[in-house]
Amino acid sequence: MDWKADKFSSVEQVMDGMKAAHYICDSQVATTVYLACNLEKPVLVEGPAGVGKTELAKVVAEYLEAPLIRIQCYEGLDESKALYEWKYGKQLLYTQLLKDKLDTIMHKEDKLADSIEKLHQYDDIFFSPHFLEPRPLLKALEQPDGVVLLIDEIDKADEEFEAFLLEVLSDFQVSIPEIGTIKAVRKPVVFLTSNNARELSEALKRRCLHLYIPFPSAALEREVIKTRLPQIGEKLRKQLVAFIQAVRTLDIRKPPSISETIDWARVLLLMHAESLNRELVGKTLNVILKHEEDIRVAEEKLISLTAEALKADDGMTGE
């Protein structure tokens, strides 16, 4: 019945599909995506920075083989940048070009009232779809083959913008005063992401399914590294994941995210490392920690952290 129905017949199918697109997720993520597509509801994704919230939307787009339309939210984003704008330039240009034409139209009528009357017959031409500049939201609704719409970092936008989104999110339509209501040709799959910079409104939350992506468990993180960087040795993989997991429990400002784990794995790969050691970790600590004081905290405990990570590997292989 729907353009995405055959891709969403079961949760397992979604999970496998995402895995094929190199995105490893737990079953909560897969279930929510599955539900969102079947209930035709937007998904609000929350969680710490760098756990793959934006990536999720990209992967779903890839899985559906649909284009991804993305709006990056920021303070001051308004409907003229997100939804539509009139092509003022084109309108002006046309009025200039058509000046002569207007003269000929008006030519015979010498009375002002008659001219106005005549003009009224052409009244809406300058505010018709031809002069409409569609912005991402409108584009997403107009796509004939369905799209994945990603509204990134909604918490950075103003509250007004959030309120303005409500119509799109609940009915998949927008109202343009001069033209009327435009409905989605095919309902897009919508993802909203938030870093919790501020509390989102109840109204918005009510219209969305909610997904919280936490930092991954060790097993999941190992799986992610394995999929992204298959070249990396098993031993090193276990060690570095154990190390990252330990660092996350420290009292630091910005715990390392998955993307940082992947970066670090890449760096270690470049350095042809076979296994973690204190010196190596000390040198590359700035890849996973981005604050001076965080690095200092980690450096203090470097010996025990590294030892733990090495031990974790032993324990795991022993099992």
């Binding site: 949760v11 079953s27 909560q28 279930t31 929510t32 539900l35 969102a36 079947n38 209930l39 509801k41 998904v43 609000l44 929350e46 003022y88 330039g89 002006l92 103003d158 509250e159 007004e160 919790n196 109840e202 939350k205 009510r206 219209r207 969305c208 399914l209 909610h210 997904l211 919280y212």
Partner: protein, 447 residues
């Protein structure tokens, strides 16, 4: 099954998760898509459609686990190695048949259904436990089974039917135990609802709130503060448009060939009130002081400057205490710290007003809101209403909060009627609801 889902949603609401009707509809749809056979999938689906923040997810998890824990009837029963053909008569009673067949699924379903019929989710306190247990057992058909047991016993039949009777009695005891546990669980789920208690605390006179409720009160105040903040930050945003910004408009018009297409506006400055609080900290007022201060300092994002004066027999400037210590510490300091230069004798509005006029009147500007909290019991000292008049004329607003109930105003040594004409707002203030209203008015810009 929708009924059970409804009950679950009620439980979640009571636990503090906000769920709207549309969300419960989503949950029903989600459950239909997912089916009820995979517990984990069901949990994930409901979690996505009902719990909308990280905190709510945690509540959801614990509620789900205890609500959908069908541990009932799971106790390892010895296999019924008896001869089913010997049950004979006993199978005629539906409940007895279930017990004899040991059909746990059916029994559990029957029990939940009976629970719903008996409206067990309305259980409020432990006293009701046996009542609900009775009701559920009756609903399940216990009397019929009891009669059956008696009948079999009296029939003096073969050894086999006596065994059946024993089996039934055993089953009855198990059932009784299980239903009791079920009711207990329902009590746990339903009775710790916060709503009713909060409502009660909101309207109880502050002076009568016991110490053990303070913790909950503080939570409540935080909640109210957030509501107030939401309300007022929004109002400021919508009223943000000021005068036409000519420069910006011209600059913008360049891209439209000089046509003034898009007028731009100057932003209005955010209007944050400065507040001067003068508190009577005599024993009769102290409780209210505590809660008012929690409010005002909780809202310091919306308030520009706060000056705090406290007085008893004399007055001191206590702003530094609140600046330096956390609000909790500061409050305990002003109430008990003996090193403070405050004399705890009889409250004296005369000294307070003269002191304020002589030393602090310059703090009062046209942007200031002055809040005086006290019962105006002046111990027959001169009232000094002329100072209050002077303050009222200088400041933007003068608010007097009186923790006494209205009938007592003006009786005995109360001077409140003398002060009343000079205040822009005089209000009785002895419950949380009063306080919230006052602070709301404090934040709104108009008089």
């Amino acid at each position: 099954m929708e009924g059970v889902l409804g009950d679950f949603i009620t439980v979640l609401r009571k636990a503090g998760v906000r769920i709207s009707i549309s969300e419960s509809l989503d949950a029903v749809n989600a459950a239909q898509i997912m089916g009820y056979d995979n517990r984990r999938r069901l949990k994930e689906a409901l979690s996505a459609s009902l719990a909308k923040s990280h905190a709510e997810k945690k509540i959801f998890d614990s509620c789900f686990d205890s609500f959908f824990s069908f541990n009932f009837f799971q106790s390892p029963k010895k296999a019924n190695a008896h001869h089913p053909e010997a049950y004979g008569e006993a199978l005629k009673d539906p409940l007895a048949a279930l017990v004899l067949k040991d059909d746990k699924g059916q029994l559990a379903a029957l029990m939940t259904e009976a629970g719903r019929m008996a409206n067990v989710s309305s259980i409020k306190n432990p006293m009701q436990k046996s009542l609900f247990t009775m009701k559920i057992l009756n609903q399940m058909g216990m009397p019929g089974m009891e009669a059956m047991v008696g009948q079999i016993k009296n029939s003096t039949g073969s050894g086999l039917s006596q065994q059946t009777a024993e089996l039934l009695e055993k089953g009855r005891d198990d059932l009784l135990q299980t239903v009791k546990e079920y009711v207990e669980q329902q009590l746990q789920l339903n009775a710790d609802g916060v709503d009713s208690k909060d409502q009660f605390l909101k309207t109880t006179p502050l002076s009568q709130i016991e110490l053990r409720h303070f913790h909950r009160m503080d939570g409540l105040i935080q909640k109210l503060i957030r509501q107030l903040e939401d309300r007022h930050s929004r109002r400021l945003k919508t009223a943000n448009r000021g005068k036409l910004d000519y420069k910006k408009t011209l600059r913008k018009s360049v891209s439209y060939g000089g046509f003034l297409f898009a007028p731009l506006w100057k932003k209005k400055k955010e209007n944050r009130p400065d507040v001067i609080v003068i508190c009577d900290i005599s024993r009769s007022v102290l409780r209210t002081v505590r809660f008012l201060m929690l409010f005002i300092y909780g809202l310091n994002k919306r308030i520009g400057k706060i000056h705090t004066f406290i007085f008893y027999s004399n007055m001191i400037d206590a702003s530094y205490i609140f600046d330096r210590y956390s609000i909790e510490e500061a409050l305990s300091k002003i109430t008990t710290d003996p090193s403070l230069p405050i004399i705890r004798g009889k409250s004296d509005y005369n000294t307070m007003f003269t002191n304020f006029r002589d030393h602090h009147l310059h703090l009062v500007t046209k942007n200031t809101t002055v809040v005086i909290l006290g019962d105006a019991r002046n111990n027959f000292n001169p009232p000094r209403a002329e100072v209050l008049k002077a303050i009222g004329e200088r400041c933007k607003r003068l608010i007097w909060l009186n923790p006494e109930t209205k009938p007592f105003w003006g009786t005995g040594d109360s001077e409140i009627k003398t002060y009343a004409p000079y205040c822009h707002l005089l209000q009785e203030c002895n419950t949380l609801v009063h306080l919230e209203r006052v602070v709301g008015k404090l934040l709104s810009a108009k008089r």
